[in-house]
């Protein structure tokens, strides 16, 4: 322990109150976890449900999907990178590759998902939303170059049908928030890739 650590500890002992014991939850942690997991599963299985008012429902009508979602898959992929389909590349201002750093970030999230007992696909889905702004900004700045194909395959395996549906909605939402010129978000690319891989495997 350094001199500062020691001084800080004594400072806190003198100045801070002892933390009062927290009231026990009416539900045990495990029971709560089970309920949350069930709710998540239900939500993802029935993505149409919405408990908010009619006005909210009107506001949350699905947006038109970006045109690029129908773009054909590229055929010049290598093992280490995935080339963006032409329409998407055009929308990104001529940039034709997606980032290599995203897989690393999501791999780390996948491990964290394990740690908190959450299905990986759910977490990836949430993470995509968490990072959507940074994805958009970096895509616009042309910072995306390539994506690890191994990761994309792994991701495709993690996502179930219901999660793909939810991700589809997310892509619509994301696209809505993007400048028109950059509507082809990286999530669209990855989703498209997943679908394609899934179709191939069927």
């Amino acid at each position: 322990m350094t001199g500062l650590d020691d001084a800080a500890r004594r400072f806190k002992e003198a100045r801070f109150t002892k933390a009062a014991p927290t009231d026990a939850d009416p539900l045990s942690d495990k029971a709560l976890e089970a309920q949350i997991a069930a709710r998540l599963s239900e939500s993802l299985s029935n993505p149409e449900q919405d408990s908010t008012s009619e006005q909210d429902q009107r506001q949350s009508k699905p947006q038109e999907a970006p045109a690029v979602s129908e773009a054909p898959m590229p055929d010049d992929r290598t093992d280490s990178e995935w080339v963006i389909p032409d329409p998407v590349a055009r929308a990104l201002g001529g940039r034709a590759r997606v980032p290599v750093d995203i897989p690393i970030r999501f791999e780390s999230l996948r491990l964290k998902a394990k740690g908190i007992g959450m299905p990986s696909g759910h977490l990836v889905l949430a993470a995509m939303q968490t990072y959507q702004h940074s994805l958009v900004e970096r895509a616009k700045a042309g910072e995306y170059h390539k994506v690890d194909r191994g990761f994309v395959k792994q991701w495709q395996l993690m996502l179930h049908e219901t999660e793909l549906a939810a991700l589809d909605q997310l892509v619509d939402e994301v696209s809505e928030h993007m400048p028109r010129r950059s509507r082809a978000l990286v999530t669209t690319l990855l989703l498209q890739h997943c679908r394609s891989e899934q179709a191939e495997s069927v």
Binding site: L4, A19, P47, M118, A126, S134, A166
Partner: protein, 296 residues
């Protein structure tokens, strides 16, 4: 839906001081005699660590309360008088995921769920300080903008951080357009401000004036850059004012005496009180602006 006495701290970019500013303002409010509740809506959960809370539920009870499985979220004592906290963490991603599926990204539903959960533990005199994740359009960030009353945007002076201000402000306007009700933008505060970088400061001010379009002011207060004070205080779970108190309270032996006795002595940032004073000034300015807004 909106929590009247609440301040949301947000910026579209990460690393601009959101969590640090949130923690310091809440502690300052509690030191001034107000009840304060910190709410961490960021899955990164740095706010608890900044306050020295290591063992917490990663937001699980907040998720449970928002989903209606618990009557209220777990409230943690921070050790400071009148300051309590509702912790965030990776569990919040479950709430976010459910919200995406259930509300299709419409922030009103999620905001309502979180607001109801928070109101269940608030006392009438409490001020609520809400830390948000670094992304505009993120479900949790949007929910904060819908349920909070006042908005403070910290920024550094690099272009990415400044653009983060523009991004969050655009999102505020979009949400207001959809809901007909807008969070009160208190202002932009410059964080890690380097007084010696005059050209950078001038450019940043110019950018902000040009891009805020009069929607919100750039605050007179700034939070100056003091790397050692910030690193030391975060490492020990203290905010700037507490670190300054610690530095002031610690009686140091003359170096030769300490050496003779073989005693290790702490070293403090020379400007330990600088940032503490900056937060006091910021709290004064925010209080004045909120009071003026309420009087109008």
């Amino acid at each position: 839906m909106r929590i009247d006495r609440s301040v949301v701290v947000a910026n579209g970019k990460g690393g601009v001081g959101k969590t640090t500013v949130t923690a310091n303002l809440a502690v300052e409010a509690s030191r001034r005699g107000a009840g304060a509740v910190l709410v961490d809506l960021d899955p990164q959960a740095n706010l608890a660590r900044d306050l020295g809370i290591e063992d917490h539920d990663q937001g699980k009870s907040l998720v449970g309360a928002a989903m209606g499985f618990l009557q209220s979220p777990r409230v943690y004592e921070t050790g400071r008088e009148r300051l309590r906290m509702i912790c965030g963490g990776m569990e919040l991603l479950k709430l976010q995921t459910a919200a995406i599926a259930e509300h299709r990204g419409n922030p009103v539903g999620l905001a309502s769920q979180i607001s109801t959960a928070l109101q269940s533990v608030l006392r009438p005199s409490d001020w609520v300080f809400i830390d948000t994740p670094p992304a505009a359009g993120n479900a949790l960030s949007d929910a904060a903008l819908v349920l909070g009353k006042h908005l403070l945007i910290p920024t550094k002076e690099d272009l990415n951080s400044l653009e983060g201000v523009g991004v969050i402000l655009s999102r505020v306007l979009e949400l207001a357009e959809n809901s007909g009700d807008m969070i009160d933008p208190i202002g932009v505060v410059q964080f890690a401000y380097d007084q010696s970088a005059r050209k950078v400061n001038a450019d940043a001010s110019e950018w902000l004036q040009a891009n805020l379009h009069g929607v919100m002011p750039v605050l007179d207060s700034v939070i100056r850059k003091t790397t050692k004070a910030q690193v030391d205080s975060k490492k020990n779970g203290l905010v700037a004012a507490e670190y300054a108190d610690l530095a002031a309270d610690t009686k140091l032996l003359p170096w030769y005496e300490a050496r003779r006795l073989g005693r290790e002595q702490p070293s403090f940032a020379k400007n330990a009180s600088t940032v503490a004073n900056d937060y006091k000034t910021l709290a004064d300015e925010i209080t004045r602006l909120i009071d003026e807004g309420a009087a109008q």
